[in-house]
Assembly symmetry: C2
Homo-oligomer: 355 residues x 2
Amino acid sequence: MVSNEKSTINDVARLAGVSKKTVSRVINNEPNVSKKTLSKVTTVIEQLNYVPNPQARGLAFNRSFLLAMIYDNPNASFVTEAMYGALSQCNTSDYELVVHPCESAHDKLYDDIIRFLKRAKIDGVILLPPLSQSEELISRLKAIGSDYVRLQSVTSDDSAHSIHFNDREAVSHIAEHLVALGHKDIGFIRGPNTSQSATERYEGFCHALGKHGISLPANRIAMGAYTFQSGVECAEWLLNSDSPPSAIFACNDEMAIGVMAAAKKMGIQIPGELTVIGFDDSPQASRIWPALTTVNLHIREMVSLATQKLLALCDKDIERAASIQSELLPTFIQRQTTAVPKNQATQARTQTNHH
Amino acid sequence: MVSNEKSTINDVARLAGVSKKTVSRVINNEPNVSKKTLSKVTTVIEQLNYVPNPQARGLAFNRSFLLAMIYDNPNASFVTEAMYGALSQCNTSDYELVVHPCESAHDKLYDDIIRFLKRAKIDGVILLPPLSQSEELISRLKAIGSDYVRLQSVTSDDSAHSIHFNDREAVSHIAEHLVALGHKDIGFIRGPNTSQSATERYEGFCHALGKHGISLPANRIAMGAYTFQSGVECAEWLLNSDSPPSAIFACNDEMAIGVMAAAKKMGIQIPGELTVIGFDDSPQASRIWPALTTVNLHIREMVSLATQKLLALCDKDIERAASIQSELLPTFIQRQTTAVPKNQATQARTQTNHH
DNA sequence: CTGAAAGCGCTTACAG
DNA sequence: CTGAAAGCGCTTACAG
């Protein structure tokens, strides 16, 4: 470290014997710099341990080089996965990631977000669901000229501004698996009506079951809230019956784990007496016993793609943003909470005994 | 919204009929502004919806108004709790929070951190454990003049730069609870040697048990890795014995949940046949069945205090930083995984029957 | 209590 | 391929 003090573009220019405009060209990888000049400047930059001042660049460029991740989703692992995805792209660019959690219940939610964006002069935002569904928020972002990319279940935007996970594809995997095991009487715990994703999962699941002539009667549909506690309560409602369903699909892992807790409390064996399937592949899904069968949406990779789009938008390159992949297929994760229905298992064994 | 376009300090000055220096005084809450001038300027600022350009302020102030949270802790809920704590303070100041997770295994870890700090010109950093234990990192931060506050178990810094959680106090609550229930044969699953916190919990637990004449023999101490899987394995090792311990204390919830999974697999009832206690009060602790008894370190509040210190340091007010509270007492959270030891319960019942 | 001048460290727009 | 001048939107240092 020749110089411990922060050196400026002027120091580099002086030592390299060039103008600061030339140094600026080197910093920004601009063309029209002779090979000789380039190497001279590069050497001095390294010698001096020079790093451009981001505030000065920001002021001149009229950019902050700041991206924000805005979300109202309380799920910690979802948020950190999304963060990792965004950071993987920030690290290879000049951008930093600012986090901005918020509460969807807040009545001045959008005002707060806009104020935050203006205050920090954020260049672009990544919107996570369920907040990403708000068209009002989008129009307010457009009003202040903020670039954005949203992660959503149902695409309500062009491919430059949206990346989507395929809920229908995911739940169809689940339906196929249940049907293949022989389940015909299935309980379903859905997410709150306010979430588009919840509707997608519900409709997709019904549709996939319908293909096999199986329907979901009203007494098999419980309304959950994506929380553990709601999973417990819905499970108790579904299972407190003379003929309970042989399987329960809860629309997220959190509720599915609630189902498992309720079943254990009631003395119902999983998967012997009850098959349970979740959704999300949260860290806990593989850390409970028995390990939960679920589906993985690849959030980290999705947000990485979203960030690539956003970076393109910040460069005003809408075409490039649109050309980046907008969808990733979900993966069904089979673990230990699914089995053939109890009756059928007994039947199968009985039949075998008769041979 | 009179003006939708971004207005500058010059616009405000012109419309208010004052110099931009005066507007600057108002923005920064400086004294020596007449009441009349103040209200005039304030009015124009509101009319114009004016927000100072943070890059311009940053350049002039030689500050970025960016704080960073640096951590190598993989625990999602720990990280998000810490984030909330930091954000609660950022929101009432002019600072934004940039996140920077990193891998402790990375051999150029410190180089990466320093590069990040210089690149983004971060004003101050919040260091989370276990990374916060590294004196090498601290000296490198000092070398580049970066302000910092560290969250740590064992205080190795002055009160302006450190905030600490009291592991010994926390584990002594656990020891007292176990002893009060009548447990004398206790299994202990410790965290990895590389973590100071793990050592604190081990020594503190031994010390607290020692006060009651109870010791921890080598065959009751398992070496965990703070992961679910290590909890499972340690529990199997501890429980596969003719006379297993009547209680197991695992040094984090993750491992304690592993213990519960192992016990269930082995057909051991919790808490009837085995008492289990964790550490952290993670969201899962209250979401499994039976709900896990554990201890809460109040991470969110601690990081909020740490951020208050950091903000003071950024103002070069070391005295104020030092005067802010540096410790919060942990809270013991009793749930459903603890009971009197099996033998003793039987004995008690037997004695009752003899009456 | 107020303001004119100079400067923070970069880039744009232009000229050569 | 290179550079001199002006400017981005603020603040500091100074003067009154």
